[in-house]
């Protein structure tokens, strides 16, 4: 089966830093794909390049048969690629519901903004401004906003940020559930190894902008290159 998303030989530099260095990987339709790597490996940059916030210096990105690099940034979500942000990028003065409605405006999903708030368990906060809500709650609002556009591909940048151990377990089940409910493909960036290894069909590993490994969670966990990369940055192995 052809991949839903193909990243082909993508390079992105920031001054002297090579954030992505000839990176290629495929995300097959219907899978949950993990993208891991130590801090600064280039995971968020990969998301920013795929969603057209950054232009790559080299390479190609093909989504569902379309050359994404010819798609303007505001059309990416209309094509069917929605994302969340590592540090949350919501609109603080807008109500929680309005935040989600903007997602629904872009490309009407199957469910309304109200239904999506219900789905992520935040109906009670619909008319509150997003400002001042706890980080974990904001992450759920972002998820609802992304789902509101009825995406084929969902890019999640550290969705477990700000969650405790128990909540991380719930999040794993939640992501598996939403793949089924929304018929979506998921590309997941996460530092919680148990979460990534537990729910991903396949995992890619970045280190210093290079793709150093890829395969099933078992294969990747046994890969000496991966162990080496994480021992070099023990803090991220937790």
């Amino acid at each position: 089966m052809a991949a839903l998303l193909s990243v082909e030989n993508v390079t992105r530099r920031f001054g002297g830093v090579v954030a992505l260095d000839g990176v290629s990987f495929d995300v097959p339709a219907g899978e949950i794909v993990g993208l891991i790597g130590p801090n600064g490996a280039g995971k968020t940059t990969a998301f920013n390049v795929i969603t057209r916030l950054y232009r790559p210096d080299e390479g190609r990105i093909v989504f569902d048969g379309h050359d994404l690099l010819r798609t303007p940034v505001h059309r990416v979500v209309k094509r069917g690629v929605a994302r969340t942000f590592q540090n949350v990028a919501l609109w603080p003065t807008l109500s929680v519901l309005d935040n989600v409605k903007i997602g629904a405006q872009a490309r009407r999903g199957v469910r309304s903004a109200e239904e999506l708030l219900e789905y992520v368990g935040l109906s009670g906060l619909a008319h509150r401004p997003a400002a001042g809500l706890p980080f974990g709650t904001l992450k759920r609002v972002e998820l609802a906003r992304a789902l509101a556009s009825g995406p084929q591909l969902l890019l999640l940048d550290e969705p477990a940020g700000g969650l405790n151990h128990e909540e991380v377990g719930e999040l794993g089940r939640f992501i598996q559930q939403l793949r089924a409910d929304f018929d979506a493909t998921v590309l997941l960036v996460e530092h919680h190894m148990n979460l990534v290894m537990g729910i991903s069909d396949r995992v890619y590993v970045l280190n210093f902008g290079r793709l150093i490994s890829g395969g099933t969670p078992q294969e990747v966990q046994r890969d000496p290159a991966v162990i080496e990369a994480y021992l070099g940055d023990a803090s991220a192995a937790a």
Partner: protein, 335 residues
């Protein structure tokens, strides 16, 4: 909850309209002229609010679009014998076109640089007007006292059944406020539309807006154009109100005053912006009333403005939200 708040809004609007209709019956002819001016400023501030309040783009040059609207009306009425009323939408549309033409390239600039560009436009406006004196009458401007197209002149006095004499100033008042209320309703519709929501998203976080499908360039340009339309209509009314236009009527101060009125009314508010417009008309008078010594009124104006921004950082609109906020959430607790 939403139904209750909706009813509250409708009631508020009806009350607002009733006050507007009734006011001339209670105030002097001179005051009616002042309140007409408030209506004119209200229109311009409503427009600036679409750009600055919703979209977060600061314009220091909206006086230029007022000037464009004012001169459009003056030239069409004085030189082409057009009826003043018909020139009002034309003035708005011309300003809207100019706004789009200016906004399209300028909106690529980020915050401070864009603000400086608009400031440049404001500075250049009186000079440009004087330069094209064949069209604009140069420094002397255009006089509309003799023009035939001014509705209701020379003798506009109607006696209503109740014995109320409707003067020419009353006519100006109703003209300005009818248009203001219509454009207020339009602004309200924008506020609650997908488009308005997208504008506020741009203001809060541009990158998130773009990544969520909002086309920044088209939204910003349209916001700029809409706000220029409002300014053009206000300028047109100002020409009719003053019976004249001169380059001196559109100094940089006029653009700054609109921002002051917007801040006092409350960025992103709607009805409270009328308070900002009233502030622009009455505060200078108040300052003059306290002392006419050279420089003193300006100092008083500045001091009051600073004090107001400290006490009401979100303007009158913020104050109203603060007063009504706890009440509505007490009636309808949400969590």
């Amino acid at each position: 909850m939403t139904a209750f708040r909706y009813a509250l809004r409708v009631f508020g609007f009806v009350l607002f309209v009733a006050i507007v209709v009734y006011l001339p019956f209670r105030i002097s002819d001179f005051r009616a002229s002042e309140f007409a001016l408030i209506g004119i400023y209200f229109i311009a501030i409503l427009g600036l609010n679409v750009l600055t309040g919703y979209t977060g783009v600061i314009s220091l040059g909206h006086g230029a679009f007022m000037a464009l609207g004012a001169y459009t009306t003056a030239i069409l009425v004085a030189d082409h014998g057009m009826r003043d009323l018909w020139t009002i939408p034309l003035a708005g549309l011309l300003a809207a076109a100019a706004g789009a033409a200016f906004g399209l390239p300028a909106l690529r600039l980020s915050g401070p640089y864009l603000a400086l560009t608009t400031f440049g436009v404001a500075v250049a406006t009186p000079i440009v007007i004087k330069k094209f004196d064949g069209l604009t009458g140069g420094s002397g401007g255009i006089n509309l006292f003799e023009a035939e197209g001014i509705t209701g002149l020379p003798e506009f006095i109607v006696t209503l059944p109740g014995g109320k004499v409707l003067s020419f100033n009353d006519w100006l008042y109703y003209l300005a406020w009818t248009i203001a209320l219509v454009l207020f309703a339009v602004a309200w519709a924008i506020h609650h539309s997908h488009f308005g929501r997208s504008l506020r998203a741009i203001r809060d976080n541009e990158i998130a807006a773009a990544a969520s499908g909002v086309w920044l360039a088209s939204h910003k340009t349209l916001a700029f154009s809409i706000s220029a339309f409002y300014a053009g209509v206000a300028g047109s009314l100002l020409a009719i109100w003053a019976f004249s236009v001169q380059p001196g009527a559109f100094p940089v101060d006029r653009s700054i005053a609109l921002l002051v009125g917007l801040a006092v009314g409350g960025l992103g508010s709607l009805a409270p912006l009328a308070a900002g417009a009233a502030f622009l008309v009455f505060l200078p008078q108040l300052a003059q009333g306290i002392s006419k010594a050279p420089g003193v009124p300006a100092v008083i104006y500045g001091a009051v403005l600073i004090a107001l921004m400290i006490v009401l950082p979100m303007g009158v609109g913020g104050l109203l939200r603060w007063i009504t906020g706890p009440l509505t959430s007490r009636l309808y607790p949400r969590s």
